[in-house]
């Protein structure tokens, strides 16, 4: 683990960390952040595809968690609870963003009245190039970012974060059957987006 060094062994298990958090110990808050911030950030950046927005979600998540820790009843793991806060915060950001986004197909109007069209990078790959190099990773991340937000949230939690269908449903506050339907749609949509590269 890089960055700020925190002794994570001060609290031997989640229960003792939780008790210390509820007592307001700053060491406990530092442990919580050190332990969970990387995964929260990873979820946020995959959901939002923007480092600044992801940082905002990261900060909002831990501010909210520290403020509301007394409400946490321990019915789920601490990490699951944090991921729920982060996912909801990311979805809120996406909804706000919708109001200020422009379509890639819309021309940019120049000062002289001339319209120019955005150049979109062609990410074509050689058909056999399926190794997880940075090019493939970028192509995948871009395709995931194109999924509609509700499908993207389910897909990231289930397929990348490795949560079960039940855990994903719990994090998002939706039913298991709705989670399955969204996962099904997300998988097929992503397959469509990647099909040209997988043929």
């Amino acid at each position: 683990m890089t960055g700020i060094e925190i002794d994570l062994d001060i609290y031997p298990d989640e229960a003792s960390l939780l008790e210390a958090l509820k007592r307001g110990e700053p060491e406990a808050c530092a442990c919580l952040v050190k332990q969970y911030a990387p995964r929260v950030y990873a979820i946020a950046i995959r959901m939002l595809n923007d480092p600044d927005d992801a940082e905002e979600v990261l900060q909002e998540t831990f501010i909210s968690a520290c403020k509301n820790i007394h409400k946490f009843e321990g019915r789920s793991a601490l990490g699951t609870w944090l991921h729920r806060i982060a996912t909801n915060a990311a979805l809120m950001h996406l909804r706000k963003r919708k109001h200020r986004e422009v379509s890639l197909d819309e021309p940019i109007e120049m000062a002289g009245g001339e319209d120019i069209y955005r150049e979109v990078e062609d990410g074509s790959l050689a058909p056999d190039d399926h190794a997880m190099n940075s090019e493939v990773r970028d192509m995948l991340e871009k395709a995931i970012a194109q999924l509609p937000e509700t499908l993207r949230a389910v897909f990231i939690l289930r397929e990348i974060e490795g949560y079960s269908t039940e855990e994903t449903a719990n994090i998002l506050g939706i039913s298991v059957s709705a989670t399955k339907v969204r996962l099904h749609r997300a998988r097929l949509r992503l397959r469509e987006l990647l099909a040209p590269y997988l043929a």
Binding site: A37, Y41, L188, L194
Partner: protein, 95 residues
Amino acid sequence: MIMSAQSQHTHTNSCHEVLAHLNDYIDGELAPELCEALEAHLEVCEDCRVVFDTLNKTLYLVHQLRNTSPQLPETVEYRLFAVLNLEQFVPKKPE
């Protein structure tokens, strides 16, 4: 009911049924008798087989992302500690 392999294949409801069951099949949650029927259908339907193969490849690639999570930049971590009033844990920069 998914059409059996013996029946003449046409793009009928059976393809839609295969697509509808594909998720459960991939997740190992499809009933054994439906698995057999689905596999039989994939044997005779190239279109569905292409969907199945590319879906598997897609998920294989996506699962590789589990090992390559975006890293939390040090500066982002520092700012997070600062915003939570945890500066006491942030190492001082050398004068």
